[in-house]
């Protein structure tokens, strides 16, 4: 009988960090051929339109970045939390918290000097998301409440708070739909490239990559956050205030997700609606894992995701393959990546008996 055993392998060299994600995406595309063919699509044509649709025209190329920015921010949010083993599954709720507070301010900040409005809205949205994530962090550190459960459930709490407000005090006067009034002009993100939706929020998201990379690599806080994630007992033994580290990590993580909400509100919808996020917070989890929790990895995985999402529209129009294929590819990419990552640390050993 042949038996397989999984054993640890020696650490891989540095180039593996780049080669492995590339290989994972290649394998994903090969495997995705199966559902595409099953859906009756022509393989080469489908892939051609998938990438052409996302990158081939000026508008779509810029639209790919528009789509990537909330994914990048929620991906960074989750990656930063996961690095400290704070299992933040609640980026969706934190995103909504950010959008909600940005709406309240964006509608009512009429008397404030216009150049101050956006900084206030952005800061408040960051803080709102951060606080929404800090609550489960405090519950985790003080009362040992499981963070997976509490962050996840707070998503639904926020959805219902938002619903109650949109049917109540925030509802646009005269409207019967659950939607808020439009935000004032000064609260809208400027569009940076004409004849597109390429907005300031995209730059904020890119800047966030730099900031998170800097925190992780250069600051004592980034060091502590990593130490807590690697081994909380040893970090505590070494004199690190693990409670403070986890709560601050949650604040930053939730704040990034909050910024995604601000961006969707101030650059895309201009008013709060129930469907402001098609699940960006949940996609962020997948993107963070796909990017191996590294900010640069998250940047590329969020771009990969938005290419698939934007391109799938064109592919569907041109070949008749349903757009759901985008979600299949996304799911597949995560599975392949996780398996690849498993084999960076372990290897299969064949044991004959």
């Amino acid at each position: 009988m042949i038996r397989f055993r999984i054993v640890k392998r020696k650490p891989l060299p540095g180039w593996a960090k780049i080669v492995i994600p590339m290989a994972a995406i290649l394998v994903t595309l090969i495997l995705s051929a199966i559902p595409i063919l099953l859906a009756g699509g022509h393989l080469w044509k489908s892939y051609y339109y998938l990438f052409y649709g996302a990158l081939g025209t000026r508008f779509n190329f810029l639209e790919t970045f528009v789509k990537a920015s909330p994914l990048l921010l929620t991906g960074l949010a989750v990656a930063f939390a996961f690095r400290a083993k704070f299992w933040n599954i609640g980026a969706e709720g934190q995103l909504l918290a950010g959008a909600l507070v940005a709406t309240v301010l964006g509608v009512h900040l009429d008397g404030v000097p216009p150049f101050l409005v956006l900084p206030i809205v952005i800061f408040a949205g960051f803080l709102a998301g951060g606080i929404w994530a800090a609550i489960p962090a405090i519950l985790k550190t003080k009362l040992k409440v499981d963070d997976v459960v509490s962050t996840l459930l707070l998503n639904y709490v926020m959805i219902h708070i938002m619903g109650a407000l949109l049917f109540g005090p925030l509802q646009q006067p005269g409207s019967s739909w659950p939607r808020s009034a439009a935000i004032i002009k000064a609260a809208c993100y400027p569009v940076l490239i004409t004849r597109s939706r390429f907005h300031m929020g995209i730059l904020i998201a890119f800047f966030a990559v730099l900031v998170i990379w800097f925190i992780n690599q250069k600051t004592t806080f980034g060091y502590r956050s990593k130490a807590v994630g690697v081994n909380i007992r040893a970090a505590h033994f070494g004199g690190i205030n693990t409670t403070a580290v986890i709560v601050w990590t949650a604040l930053i993580s939730g704040g990034l997700a909050g910024l995604a909400g601000v961006g969707e509100l101030c650059a895309i919808q201009y008013r709060l609606i129930m469907d402001i996020s098609p699940g960006y917070g949940y996609s962020g989890i997948v993107i963070a894992m796909l990017g191996n929790l590294h900010p640069v990895g998250v940047l590329f995985s969020s771009l990969f995701f938005s290419v698939i999402i934007v391109g799938a529209q064109t592919m569907s129009r041109m070949t008749g393959v349903p757009t759901y294929i985008a979600e299949v590819i996304q799911g597949m990419s995560l599975m392949v990546m996780l398996i690849f990552l498993l084999f960076t640390e372990y290897k299969l050993k064949v044991k004959k008996k």
Partner: protein, 504 residues
């Protein structure tokens, strides 16, 4: 000795883990109707030997005969089918299920396609009556005390018709009254013709309960005695007597002022049993106080309290005449305590971070290594390189992931970090456990250097050779109490062996 044919015969058993022999050429017999004690220090190979008999490990060399038949045991299942059962220190019970459900797990208790709990229940109750092991079959396991859970484990074995029962340090987790109960049970088991192997390092208990004693040392059998024909004194000698591994050249130094004083320290362990009972200690400058004792007698709790990782229930600790705030690692670091924890891979080091990141753990927030939260990476690199150099740490570099280092080098990283700040007190808990001879000697030299520098050192170790070689004074801890105090020069091994085993 005994001339009956043995029930179990293990002959020429050897077992290696990597290159280390856990058992070497061991012969062991067990006879029907006896309680045979396997006596030895930690790491003597008792549990390994019995795990081989239980089919949990397979021996690299040697043969096993059970009831006269040669047995090739591939798994515990094979062993159980031959009537061999083993109860480990950590019970294998499902806490959320009832006693009865736990008993029938893995057995074929069926009536047609359905579970026949009724039949199982009456069989269980019959066993409970027969051996005086009263446990409510419907009670959920998590509601039971440790002693009751142990009864469930014994019943589980009996239910599977086990007639050779191995118990691995069964009294370690029990309160004294529960121990008496257990001993009654074991006696009733052997009076019904079953046999028991009792693994222990507690001499009093072994003298109390066993018919025969086999002493293991460093993986080999060193003696076999009938209990009536030996004494605790002789057994202590057999258990710990060994030649020194190395010659240590220790300078004569006069102890200075007191740097560590522990007063009336009380603590409980994770099972909420008393772990330290009114413990008092003094360590002075230029002095190594060796604390001998078999592990599990409160050493872990003591070191954790000193490190700030555990709250005591009473008492006080002074370091350099300043009292130590309990439960705060930062406070211990602040009072210049060098801390070498016994579980260096779990508590001491961040195995998934680099060597450098481990070096700066305690000092990363100091002005030397950061300003405004920004790390001074150049200075950190230089500092790590210096320590790697000074401690001869074999590593691919300061960026190498710590888990890639060997055991000896891991401990060097630990020492480098903890001793770099020239601590006033060093607490070294089992500092050479699991290390090879070369690394061990290096660590010993480092500890002696700290003594010469002027630190006071508390060396907590279960390795008697180490304690004898390094210490200026020796105390022995047993069940959370100091059994006695002896100075290094005239301490007798025999006396310390007795104290270690709980004989005053």
């Amino acid at each position: 000795m005994v001339s009956r044919p043995p029930l179990v015969r293990m002959s020429s058993i050897s077992k290696y883990f990597l290159d280390v022999a856990a058992n070497q050429d061991v012969n062991f017999d067990l006879f029907a109707g006896e309680i045979c004690a396997l006596l030895g220090e930690n790491g003597a190979g008792k549990t390994t030997l019995m795990n081989i008999l239980f089919g949990y490990y397979s021996a690299d060399e040697g043969e096993i005969f059970i009831k006269g038949e040669k047995a090739d045991l591939a798994s515990p299942k094979d062993a159980i089918s031959r009537g061999v059962g083993m109860i480990h220190q950590h019970f294998a019970l499902v806490p959320s299920q009832t006693v009865l459900e736990n008993i029938v797990i893995g057995t074929d208790t069926r009536k047609g396609p359905f579970l026949d709990l009724k039949a199982a229940r009456s069989k269980l109750l019959a066993l409970e009556d027969q051996f005086g092991l009263q446990v409510d079959p419907e009670a959920r396991v998590w509601t039971l005390s440790v002693g009751e859970q142990q009864k469930v484990e014994i019943l589980k074995a009996l239910y599977r018709n086990v007639d050779i029962l191995i118990m691995d340090e069964p009294t370690a987790v029990l309160a004294p009254a529960e121990t008496e109960d257990l001993f009654k049970t074991l006696k009733s088991l052997v009076s019904e013709g079953r046999s028991v192997v009792f693994i222990s390092h507690k001499l009093n208990e072994v003298m109390d309960i066993s018919n025969r004693i086999v002493v293991l040392r460093s993986g080999s059998v060193v003696a076999e005695r009938n209990t009536t024909e030996t004494s605790a004194r002789e057994l202590a000698n057999l258990m710990v007597g060994r030649d020194l591994l190395e010659d240590i050249d220790k300078k004569h130094l006069e102890p200075g002022r007191t740097v560590l004083e522990i007063q009336n320290l009380d603590a409980r362990n994770d099972k909420n049993l008393p772990a330290l009972k009114n413990l008092n200690l003094v360590v002075k400058q230029n002095e190594i106080l060796g604390m001998a004792g078999i592990s599990g007698n409160g050493q872990r709790e003591l070191s954790e309290i000193l490190f700030g990782m555990r709250m005591p229930t009473g008492g006080s600790i002074q370091i350099n005449n300043t009292s130590l705030k309990f439960g705060s690692p930062t406070a211990a670091i602040g009072l210049k305590m060098g801390r070498i924890p016994e579980d260096r891979m779990v508590t001491g080091l961040l195995m998934d971070l680099s060597v450098e990141e481990n070096m700066i753990l305690e000092d990363h927030a100091s002005a030397e290594f950061q300003t405004w939260g920004l790390m001074k990476l150049k200075r950190i690199h230089r500092y790590s390189d210096e320590l790697i150099d000074a401690y001869n740490i074999a590593t691919a570099g300061r960026d190498a992931v710590t888990k890639s280092l060997s055991g000896g080098n891991l401990q060097k990283v630990m020492l480098a970090r903890e001793l770099a700040g020239k601590p006033a007190v060093v607490i070294a808990a089992q500092p050479t456990r699991g290390l090879d001879v070369g690394a061990m000697e290096y660590i010993h030299q480092r500890i002696l250097q700290e003594r010469e520098r002027g630190a006071g050192i508390l060396l907590i170790s279960e390795d008697l050779d180490e304690v004898f070689a390094l210490s200026d004074r020796i105390v022995v801890i047993y069940e959370g109490e100091i059994m006695g105090d002896a100075s290094g020069a005239n301490a007798s091994r025999e006396q310390i062996g007795l104290w270690m085993s709980g004989v005053k």
